[in-house]
Symmetry: C2
């Protein structure tokens, strides 16, 4: 049974705090191992990548077989069932249409003194995308990472995907082709992150690395941050469903299980003002758990991390949700927009009975790479902006410098930065001389 | 003498690579110390903060003296010379006017199937701003960090500034008041970062921490990243000046020195197509270094990290600059906009003879917190967006779900996520039944 809390109970606050501070993820101590692998890749390049791949993925590669060739990709793509290929194309089109609206605009304006100010956005040149191997090799994740990069204008997209024992997921390769990926490397783990960050003779370094991965990949991303940009360090997935008596308990139960089936560390929370709905959802989950393919994983997640919170009204539901700041928030109530208006912290919101979270995982359009572990309080899902950067621009006129330069000089001197003050002062002196000579007519 | 390179020399590429890979910053091994301090603050709260402050800042505080009081701030502000106060106000007004244009817009649109899609931006609730003590306690930095947060709509702004031996910079306190800071705590180091990230009985936790600091502060920020958001880990400051024969060598030399005077690790680079200008600037620097207040620091920086690069033309100048991806880029040429059009990687660009970089440090308007150490390839200066986050929104209609739901089901099954597929499938089945019952007229 999941935790069940009542917001009107005297011990609610302390039990809710326990829920908030629950540590769902075990973080194995991989940092030393990862540091050694990264160091090796930096020093020995391809040779190190090949050695670590032989060790972890049981594959003997050479520099000229590190890449999955165009021919291999073509063969794999041809083997994808047409229905799956079509579904992937629908997803890609919708993700692209949504993200195309995220392209930011450049700004340029004149201040009252005639100075020109503004900024402009440019794309990162090269991005590396990590795609996990094995069970979690999700073609949908490749689309969600690659399409924003492509929309941003990134010229070179390099994917690393481990292929333990030589097996690559054909649908993931098709996703790479649809998303316009330029290079696919059959390597994974910290050695792949090292190759992308530092470059080798065969694999050129990138500027930004995105994509999910296991503890080794996460530790490696944290370590190379600074040498390259990284997207985020994602934790286990979460869903919070706010529902009232109008909700269909079967549907809500299935939505909760769609998170739970990801991983025993995943978390599914129901927040409702209806005790009857809470009971019905709990009962429906128990029925479902007898017949889902991944029932064991889903049950482990639900029993360890699941929660049902009974609140007095929808205002309280929104407040509880905001304290959790969920990655995914479904609002299945009579007036979902009214509830959403009170929500401040969530990665993604799914409104109404006909928007199951799984739509957002694949074909909705918004990105499914979202902030976990309460980080929606301060961060956002993946977007086009993650593959762009902003350069600020300023151009003073002599008049603008004369107007605001003295304040800069004053502040520079107050901070004991004389050269800063003089860099302004030399120019102001020249302007004053010029003015004086004009006035004296010489 | 700084390094001097000629782009047409046969050894240019290898010497330029050496310049790029130069490690200017020594990173002392403080990580273990910082981990212990953070752990102590998490466990013992105020007591730990007070103990570490006694040890590092030689001040015995109590919970009720951790804050710098309104009265203390008022007394300090009253002591600021009117000219400095006025300069700070001019800076604050201009920074606010610039950043106000960065407020992002919410988006909502309907797709062809009638689904509503979009996103909305909300502010982080509480932000903590770190202001270094001692030499580098810059009032201008407080404005640059606090004003974007305020413009974003952050409700609670808490500043931590160490006051070793009890000394606080009055101008920094005035900057805090002008920027509308809510709390000022007289604590610093890793203990301050710990208090902001975890909260204590006296200091409530924040959601995001910004602001520069020493190696301890940087290591602490890296460690609490995830519990809270952080801005960036900044390295030593840099300037690159692209100049041609039209530039005033004295002014260029002073601009180079205005970076060099920050820190022996700072870096100043001149890129020019004019050998005569290069000679004149080098000579001017030598003259300046005999009379600047901070000549010793500036000389150390120039001799260890300075560089003069002679290129064949402005296209090559832009290419060289992009490979360096400087924090600050001044373009002092006959047609600076034309050169800027070829630039892709820079934190901030200053155009023309009358825009010394120091203007941008104080009163230009754009932020002076900028990406260092080549990270302008993938990251941006501080902005209003750093204190906001985006929530994506989706609402399907029954018709939209019927149109795109089957593709989601297909992809979910291809990823072996049955509950994902069923969460869509249950709804599609209900819609089909409804349609069938309508068609049969029952």
């Amino acid at each position: 049974m999941p935790v069940t809390l009542r917001a009107d109970a005297p011990d609610f606050e302390s039990r809710f705090r326990d829920l908030l501070s629950m540590k769902r993820e075990s973080s194995p101590e991989v940092d030393d191992v990862v540091a050694a692998i990264l160091d090796d890749v930096r020093k020995r390049g391809d040779d190190a990548v090949i050695d670590h791949t032989a060790r972890f993925d049981r594959m003997q590669l050479a520099p000229d077989t590190l890449a999955i060739s165009e021919e291999e990709i073509a063969v794999a793509c041809a083997a994808v069932p047409p229905e799956e290929a079509r579904a992937l194309e629908i997803a890609a089109e919708r993700i692209e249409a949504y993200h195309a609206r995220q392209r930011p605009e450049d700004v340029s304006f004149q201040d009252p003194h005639g100075a020109t100010l503004g900024w402009r956005w440019t794309a990162v040149e090269a991005a590396g995308l990590y795609v996990p191997g094995g069970l979690a090799s999700y073609p949908s994740s490749l689309l969600m990472n690659a399409i924003p990069a492509r929309v941003a204008g990134v010229e070179r997209l390099a994917v690393c995907m481990p292929t333990p024992g030589g097996k690559a997921n054909p649908l993931t390769l098709l996703a790479a082709r649809i998303a316009g990926v330029d290079e696919v490397w059959r390597i994974g783990g910290a050695q792949a992150i090292g190759a992308l960050a530092y470059g080798t003779d065969t694999i050129r370094a990138v500027d930004k690395i995105a994509g999910p991965g296991n503890a080794y990949v996460a530790a490696a991303k944290r370590r190379v941050f600074g040498t390259v940009g990284i997207d985020m360090i994602a934790g286990p997935s979460e869903i919070l469903v706010i529902a009232d008596a109008t909700a269909n308990p079967e549907w809500v139960a299935m939505d909760l299980m769609s998170q739970a089936e990801h991983d025993p560390s995943a978390q599914s929370i129901l927040v409702t003002d209806s005790a009857a709905l809470a009971q019905a959802v709990i009962a429906a989950v128990e029925r479902l758990l007898t017949r889902l393919e991944r029932a064991e994983i889903a049950a482990a997640s639900w029993r360890a991390n699941g929660a049902v919170i009974l609140v007095r009204d929808m205002a309280e539901a929104a407040a509880v949700s905001d304290r959790i700041a969920p990655e995914h928030l479904e609002i299945v109530t009579a007036d979902p927009e009214a509830v959403a208006a009170n929500i401040r912290h969530a990665g993604a919101i799914f409104l109404g009975a006909f928007t199951p979270e799984a739509i957002g995982d694949y074909v909705g359009g918004p990105n499914h790479v979202l902030p976990t572990a309460r980080s929606a309080r301060f961060s956002s899902g993946l977007s086009v902006l993650d593959f762009m950067k902003r350069t600020t621009i300023a151009r003073m006129t002599p008049g603008a410098l004369a107007a605001i330069g003295p304040a800069a000089e004053t502040l520079a001197r107050s901070e004991s930065l004389e050269a800063h003050a003089l860099s302004v002062g030399l120019r102001l002196a020249a302007l004053n001389e010029e003015e004086a000579s004009m006035e004296s007519g010489t």
